[in-house]
């Protein structure tokens, strides 16, 4: 494939490699798409549509329901509340979020290193 940096014209889709496909010209994009579909067979047909956009619009959403939290506390009584694994970024499903799950957002007290 000509990945030539010096191209200044619009490039058409070009063949990946002459050795690979003698008869048909498969664009690199389409072969990448085939790779992706092979790894994730459940990938939806409308990728640019609602799912991706909805995810983008929902950035920053954190969920903490004090009602759920207190109910869970009451049920478990003396036992420890389940705490989230440190790697989890999204808390959904059966897990009851605790105040510890919501990272404390503190303002930066340190000056920017660009000014140092």
């Amino acid at each position: 494939m000509s990945g030539d940096n010096e191209e200044t014209q619009t490039t058409e889709e070009t063949a990946v490699d002459d050795k690979e496909v003698p008869e048909k010209m498969i664009s690199p994009e389409k072969s990448e798409e085939a790779k992706l579909k092979a790894r994730y067979p459940n990938l939806g047909n409308k990728p640019g549509g609602s799912d991706l956009l909805r995810k983008r619009l929902q950035k920053g959403q954190k969920y903490f329901d004090s009602g759920d939290y207190n109910m869970a506390k009451a049920k478990i009584k003396n036992k420890q509340l389940p705490t989230a694994a440190p790697e989890k970024t999204e808390i959904t499903g059966d897990h009851i979020p605790t105040p510890q799950d919501l990272p404390q957002r503190k303002p930066s007290l340190v000056a920017s290193k660009l000014a140092g």
């Binding site: 940096n5 014209q9 994009e29 389409k30 956009l53 983008r56 959403q61 954190k62 919501l102 920017s112």
Partner: protein
């Protein structure tokens, strides 16, 4: 000045920021912007801080050394917030900084995070009053009974102090995340754009703003595109453009209607449907749109290319430049590691003859429109000796890798240059890597 490919050479000038590899999230640079004269250079970061650099007055005795940029002011612009009603965490990351044209001794800039825009005043103080009647020099109050005479306090020179103060806070006007801010040429109004709406503000009025574009569908299930960037025309105060995640740009005229949902012009390049793939729409999403200084063209940046559009021709761009076409055969992994969603910006030089944008591996690209030349340069600490000339870089897409070339698989996709800025008059550029700011200038012979 000659073009960047052959005649012009770029030299390292300065680098700002920490050297260590362990980058704190707060230090990630999120925006870079020169003011209209190029004397001031502002950066914003993920930690909500703004740092402003000022160009020193040129040293006439040593003309081979271009003036340097030194820290002028730094302040905390935005702080993290939590919207309890919506369970929404509001990042303090500065998405955009835009300077206002200077009207008096003070400087003004707009800085915005996802939800709130602030107008900051940066002013200098180099004098202070001395000789108060009722206070000692250290501030303690005198016993009035000991005062026997009156004197007039005098203004005495002091060390320069630069103060930043928030003059306006424009809040609560955006349900979605603000991606752009643009000051109108009328110097009275500005627009702010989020994923679905664009609002028009008056710089003096914070409790009201006009909604001028609303693309939110009645049923969110029908959402097909979002607004990715917006900008006012540099001279026509009634004209602005906004780009979308589907690769289209709409030009709107505020004289036509109060709500500019109906565009005046729609810029869209026709696509060959047989070439369409899963990735087509994602890589066509426009991450930045910038008018040329002369107001006749606009430039858009999508994932793989930069396109120049003539405002009088909607059917297709007049120029297209491939930034890193070799990535087209890596789209699968770039989708998996989310890099395909990276939002690169682009910029024009002062006379609109050259455009610049960033790439991966701390590479950045310049395209000389007139001479049809382009060059790939690298911002790295290894090339940071004073006035060291930057050597052009080359990526090898496949086949035999020549000496000095780097293969696509060796590129570091964590080293992305998303933000670059070009001095409005001179050949001085500011290039932001993850947490460092590089300043390069053309070689002065």
């Amino acid at each position: 000045m000659a073009g960047p490919g052959g005649d012009m050479q770029w030299c390292f000038s300065q680098v700002k920021g920490a050297i260590d590899d362990d980058v704190a999230e707060a230090d990630i640079i999120s925006t870079v912007e020169f003011n209209q004269t190029g004397e001031l250079l502002a950066t914003g970061d993920k930690g909500g801080r703004v740092v402003i650099f000022q160009q020193e007055v040129e040293n006439k005795n040593q003309p081979q050394f271009r003036s340097e940029y030194n820290v002028y002011s730094t302040f905390q612009s935005h702080e993290p917030e939590f919207d309890y009603l919506k369970s929404l965490e509001i990042e303090e990351k500065i998405n955009k900084i835009r300077w206002l044209p200077q009207k008096n001794a003070a400087q003004f800039l707009l800085s915005t995070n996802d939800k709130t825009i602030k107008l900051w005043k940066i002013s200098e103080r180099d004098r202070r009053p001395e000789g108060y009647n009722l206070k000692e020099e250290d501030g303690r109050y005198k016993d009035p009974n000991t005062i026997t005479s009156l004197r007039v306090p005098v203004l005495m020179p002091m060390d320069l102090m630069v103060e930043a103060s928030p003059r306006r806070v424009f809040a609560n006007a955006h349900t979605y995340h603000i991606n752009s801010v643009s000051v109108n040429s009328d110097n009275e109004t500005y627009l702010s754009a989020d994923d679905l709406r664009i609002n028009l503000w008056h710089l003096e009025i914070t409790d009201r703003s006009f909604n001028i574009v609303d693309i939110k569908p009645a049923n969110m299930e029908e959402l097909t595109e979002v607004i990715t960037a917006a900008e006012f025309h540099p001279h026509q105060c009634n004209t602005f453009v906004y780009s979308s995640s589907k690769g289209t740009i709409r030009l709107c005229d505020m004289r036509a209607a109060a709500l500019c949902d109906k565009h005046s012009k729609l810029f869209e390049e026709p696509e060959d449907p047989s070439n369409r793939s899963f990735f087509s729409e994602i890589i066509s999403s426009i991450s930045d749109v910038k008018f040329s200084h002369n107001g006749r063209y606009m430039m858009t940046r999508d994932y793989l290319s930069v396109k120049i559009w003539d405002l009088s021709m909607e059917s297709r761009p007049v120029e297209t430049y491939q930034v890193h076409e070799y990535l087209r055969s890596k789209l699968c992994s770039l989708y998996e590691n989310d890099c395909i969603f990276d939002k690169f910006e682009c910029c024009w030089n002062g006379n609109d003859s050259v455009v610049m944008t960033g790439s991966y591996n701390n590479f950045f690209r310049m395209f000389d429109r007139g001479h049809r030349r382009d060059v790939t340069l690298e911002a790295s600490r290894e090339n940071s000796k004073p006035m060291q000339v930057l050597k052009p870089r080359k990526v090898c897409a496949g086949g035999k890798r020549k000496k000095d070339e780097i293969s696509v698989d060796s590129l570091d996709f964590n080293k992305k240059i998303l933000h670059t800025a070009w001095h409005p008059q001179d050949n001085i550029i500011a290039v932001a890597t993850t947490n460092n700011l590089y300043i390069f200038q053309d070689k002065v012979n």
